[in-house]
């Protein structure tokens, strides 16, 4: 195991062609973080349990800790570092930032990438669709609600729809004196 075979593969990572040599058994996660200089992709378990390491391969979400880098040879890889355009944040990044959908920020790169894939096929996703798409990604900080709303907000921005999360999301609910619900 110590003396291991080396492999060389070419990928298009965030739009840039790269040819990289790495030990043949290394995962895409390891190669991205340790060989490509892209540590934005995080790891939470390295066993495919938490979703933190999600990246896009040919536009589809993939757990980079479970994919050997060699299997991604010749494919198009997108990571969180490739989301922004120049210095402009992607609407998903803006929505996550402004809505407090990133707290510690460790699960955020994975969430953003899976959400990006969802929005490609579902430009107007329902909350249930977002929850289903992201259900393999764990977050210990937010309680998830803000992430769902941030994806909806970003979807609206991408559609040019002026919808934004309600005032409650920014200020909390307004307490009433009377018994309200059904």
């Amino acid at each position: 195991m110590t003396v291991c075979d080396s492999a060389t593969a070419s990928f298009v990572v965030n739009g840039e062609a790269q040819t990289i040599a790495f030990p043949v058994h290394h995962t895409l996660l390891e190669v991205l973080r340790e060989r490509c200089g892209l540590p934005g992709t995080k790891h939470g378990c390295e066993l495919g349990e938490c979703g933190t390491c999600s990246v896009l391969v040919d536009g589809e979400p993939v757990l980079s800790c479970l994919l050997l880098a060699i299997e991604a040879s010749g494919r198009r890889i997108e990571t969180v570092e490739g989301l922004q355009q120049g210095n402009r944040l992607h609407p998903l990044q803006r929505a996550f930032a402004d809505l407090g959908a990133a707290q510690c920020g460790y699960c955020t790169p994975g969430m953003l990438m899976v959400a990006k894939a969802l929005l490609r096929t579902h430009p107007e996703p329902t909350a249930a669709q977002i929850e289903e798409a992201l259900s393999g990604n764990l977050c210990r900080c937010t309680g998830y609600g803000r992430i769902v709303q941030a994806v909806q907000w970003a979807a609206a921005m991408l559609r040019g729809d002026p919808w934004r999360p309600p005032a409650e999301a920014f200020f909390g609910a307004t307490a009433t004196d009377d018994a309200g619900t059904s």
């Binding site: 110590t2 540590p39 995080k42 066993l47 990133a102 955020t108 289903e132 999301a169 309200g180």
Partner: protein
């Protein structure tokens, strides 16, 4: 991006409570000027780094010539180490060096009273996962391979799996200290006349509850990188909530002057209390770097993180309470038994915390508290969000729900009748501040339609209510000293740049944003004008760290002081230049101007130039030390806080009586936050607390099992993986309605109180109470799982008690209680019959009362302390 919110702020009136002059003065730091930033939902200052992947976590650090460290961890739960065979490991290519216990013989531990840890085991291992050897190699894989090749020869010892077993098994002792046998600590306190209180009761209620342990499960695995500078200086980057305490532990164990060690807390990928102890790997990596003269990195695997733990103690609880017919409480007696795991960690403090805070919510005229913490051969327990209080809070709030049913009083009403008085000193000598609990109860009662719906929903549907309270920072530091608990430096220069330095550590809760916002508010500048430098022990003034919900209040006060001093210097210079009194100047809109003639003024950068020209290079400092607490008895160091936050929650649940499966449909939660510095971040803390509380209530378990005898019989973690350790996913979360109850507390900066931990507390009991309302069964143990519900429903069907939970509390000799007269009895905060009162001043007591500590300090001794 932050300025985008300025237009939206018009949606709401300026957040100054005009009804209340004291409150208004607390909030408005400039006469007549409402805050522009404080109270508004500004984008957090670290948001951009976190959504672009630029935020640097400890494992993201890569340095030239960096090497990698792995720990060899014990596979035996309790054993003597007979020998360590490194021969095979030495042959692994790339291996650079090894460390064992003899290289780091100095014991350490977060609390001075329980310094019982070694970075690497000296001769005994006490749980599966206890580190024994550290190995470094040029690659992580080689280090891993070498670690696997290390052979440890164990001589097995009896292993202890539970509190009961620890009480029955005094020998062999897991530690050679502690009270006796495997009892680490007992507490026995009596406040007021409980016998008379129970005598006066018209209704007596007794209950036993069990709360299983659970762990933090921060998504980031702990990591650290140590970089030696020369023979005697070293920098350690780490994922830690408490760089100051790591700094102290490193100095102690490495035997280096603290000034030569620099600890930098990286951005933390979640903490929740799991990164507040100094850890074995942090010490081993530093020692290895000094040995090798090269940078060394260690990153724990997820399995190792489960074994590091320091999470929620499993606690068995017994409650006995006397009530009058009107629901008011006459006396209460609480007993707790904590399964501490293999080391002290924060455990002495956790033990006291299980009994310290019930009095902050409800007036208990007489209160008795007994507790025991036992050592067991499992990963050490410590602080997790709510530290020591979620377990007794769950017990108390379910107990009150039962009382409400016995007494025929609405559970919300029962609580309203017992709420403690704002500004009072409790029976156990805690100084309370503002109390917004009644408003919280009213908000969730109204929001959930409680009065029309509670007790009236169809079978299977139910509502449950519970409350809670939490510290806004522990009143005492972990090691006794007279220095501030938080400090802030501000450097201003002619560019107009404002650099803010503080030892606080961002763990995702938004502490960087609170710090920046307070300085920006007071100096009237934008968040983008501020450069933060935090959590670097070489460069930043000490802050004790991100624990005990202390940061907003304590860092906030230090920031207010530093910023007001900076403003005063600038105002003097500008006043001289403009020829107006300094008091008349306003700092806002990145300008300093005359309140009576706003056109007359200077841009902020020019105002700094004026001050620098007149007074020289500009640096100001601010610091904060909490007020002295009134308690003077042994153990009174745990519980005091400058003020307390309050929370109430109602949960609606749908139970399927056929399967026991249930769904949480809706959570209404109201939190008395004093004043939200940033409502978006505050709401995020509330929602995150609801989430984490539901995880604990429904599924999370740090549970252990014995391997079969042929596999050593060791106690191993039942589920050290994220697949098996269940935590809620997107699809498990209900709708949450959060109310921020704002009524500024004069003890808080801008009136602010904590929000990071308190909102978790009512969630667990509210769920248990909702299950009862839905199907009429009591689940007196946590987590509440469908199989328990089915068992309870089956019991109900057979006419047996519809309850699942523990029935007995172990027989523990707590000894004679320390009797402390209450404030109502005219006490002075001291115990009546404390045998240690006879001790010579300055001696090192097991706990150390405040006065003992002070006396010890006067004599130049290092006094012991029990408090985080």
């Amino acid at each position: 991006m932050n300025d985008r919110w300025d237009s939206r702020s018009a949606d709401r009136a300026p957040p100054v409570d005009a009804e209340n002059d004291v409150a208004a003065a607390t909030v408005a730091r400039q006469p007549g000027i409402a805050p522009r930033l404080i109270g508004q939902p500004f984008t957090r200052v670290d948001a951009r780094a976190k959504v672009t992947g630029q935020a640097q976590f400890a494992d993201d650090i890569a340095l030239p010539r960096m090497t990698y460290l792995k720990l060899v961890r014990s596979t035996a739960a309790h054993a003597r180490i007979r020998g360590i065979d490194l021969a095979a490991a030495r042959r692994v290519p790339g291996v650079l060096g090894f460390l064992s216990g003899r290289d780091l013989p100095q014991p350490y531990g977060i609390l001075p009273v329980s310094e019982d840890e070694h970075a690497l085991a000296l001769d005994t291992v006490r749980y599966v996962g206890d580190p024994i050897v550290a190995v470094a190699a040029t690659s992580e894989e080689q280090a891993h391979e070498a670690a696997l090749a290390v052979i440890i020869d164990y001589q097995p010892l009896t292993t202890i799996a539970s509190v009961e077993q620890a009480l029955d098994t005094p020998e062999p002792r897991i530690h050679q200290y502690g009270e006796q046998g495997n009892i680490h600590k007992t507490v026995s306190l009596a406040f007021g006349d409980t016998a008379a209180g129970f005598e006066a009761a018209e209704c007596l209620l007794e209950d036993t509850f069990f709360y299983e342990g659970n762990t933090h499960l921060a998504l980031e695995q702990h990591a650290a990188v140590a970089v030696p500078e020369d023979d005697e200086r070293i920098t350690v980057y780490s994922s830690t909530q408490t760089p100051h305490y790591v700094h102290r532990a490193l100095a102690k164990v490495l035997g280096l002057p603290a000034a030569r060690i620099r600890v930098i807390a990286c951005t933390n990928g979640g903490g929740f209390g799991g990164k507040t102890d100094p850890f074995n790997h942090e010490i081993a990596v530093a020692k290895m770097a000094l040995e090798l003269g090269r940078p060394v990195k260690v990153t724990l695997s997820r399995e190792e993180v489960f074994y590091c733990h320091r999470g929620r103690h499993p606690v068995l609880m017994h409650l006995r309470t006397g009530f009058r017919r009107d629901g008011t409480i006459t006396a209460q007696h609480l007993r707790t038994a904590l399964d501490g795991g293999a080391y002290g960690s924060y455990g002495v403090a956790s033990t006291y915390y299980t009994g310290a805070l019930p009095t902050t919510t409800y007036h208990l005229p007489a209160y008795r508290f007994e507790a025991v913490r036992a050592f067991t051969n499992k990963p050490p327990c410590g602080p997790k969000r709510g530290h020591g209080t979620p377990q007794p809070r769950y017990a108390l709030e379910v107990h009150l729900d039962k009382a409400a049913h016995v007494l025929g009083i609405d559970p919300a009403e029962l609580r309203l009748r017992n709420i403690a008085s704002a500004g009072s000193v409790t029976t156990n000598w805690l100084q309370l501040g503002t109390i917004g609990l009644a408003k919280c109860i009213e908000a969730v009662v109204a929001g959930s339609g409680w009065r029309k719906r509670y007790g009236r929903l169809r079978h299977g549907r139910g509502l449950g209510l519970a409350c809670g309270a939490y510290l806004c920072g522990a009143g005492l530091p972990i090691y006794w000293n007279h220095m501030p608990q938080s400090g802030v430096h501000i450097k201003l220069d002619r560019s107009g740049n404002v650099a803010v330095f503080c030892g606080e550590a961002e763990i995702g809760q938004g502490s960087d944003s609170v710090l920046a916002a307070i300085v920006a508010e007071i100096l009237g500048i934008a968040l983008a004008d501020i450069r933060l430098c935090v959590a670097d022990t070489d460069l930043t003034p000490v802050d004790l760290g991100s624990y005990s919900s202390r940061v907003t209040l304590m860092v906030g006060h230090a920031a207010v002081e530093a910023a007001e001093r900076a403003r005063a210097v600038i105002a003097k210079a500008v006043a001289a230049q403009l020829g107006v009194p300094a008091e008349q100047l306003v700092f806002a809109e990145r300008r300093v101007f005359d309140a009576r003639d706003p056109a007359s003024g200077l841009p902020f950068a020019d105002a700094v130039v004026a001050a620098e020209a007149r007074y020289g290079t500009l640096v100001t400092a601010g610091s904060y030390t909490p007020p002295r607490a009134p308690g003077r008895y042994r153990g009174s160091g745990v519980g005091p806080s400058p003020t307390y936050s309050y929370t109430a929650a109602v949960i609606e649940v749908e139970v399927d009586p056929e399967t026991g499966l249930f769904d949480v449909e809706h959570v209404w939660i109201a939190h008395d936050i004093g004043r939200a510095i940033n409502p978006v971040l505050a709401l995020g803390q509330i929602e995150g607390s609801v989430y984490m509380g539901l995880g604990e209530a429904m599924m999370e378990e740090q549970a252990f099992r014995r391997l079969p005898p042929r596999l050593s019989g060791a106690l191993v973690h039942k589920m050290p993986s994220m697949l098996e350790y269940k935590s809620p996913s997107f699809q498990d979360m209900p709708e949450i309605t959060s109310y921020l109850i704002e009524s500024p507390d004069p003890q808080g900066p801008f009136g602010a109180k904590e929000v990071g931990q308190g909102p978790l507390l009512p969630i667990i009991p509210a769920l248990a109470n909702a299950v009862f309302d839905a199907v009429g069964v009591r689940i007196d143990q946590v987590p509440i799982q469908p199989d328990l519900l089915l068992k309870a429903l089956a019991a109900a069907e057979k006419g047996r008690e519809p309850r699942i939970g523990p029935n007995a509390f172990p027989d523990v000799d707590f000894g004679e209680p320390l009797r402390v007269p209450t404030p109502q009895q005219g006490g002075d905060g001291r115990a009546l019959d404390d045998p240690r009162r006879q001790q010579a001043p300055g001696t090192r007591s097991a706990d150390g009362t405040m006065s003992e500590r002070e006396q010890a300090l006067r004599k130049g001794h290092d006094a012991a302390l029990t408090t985080p």
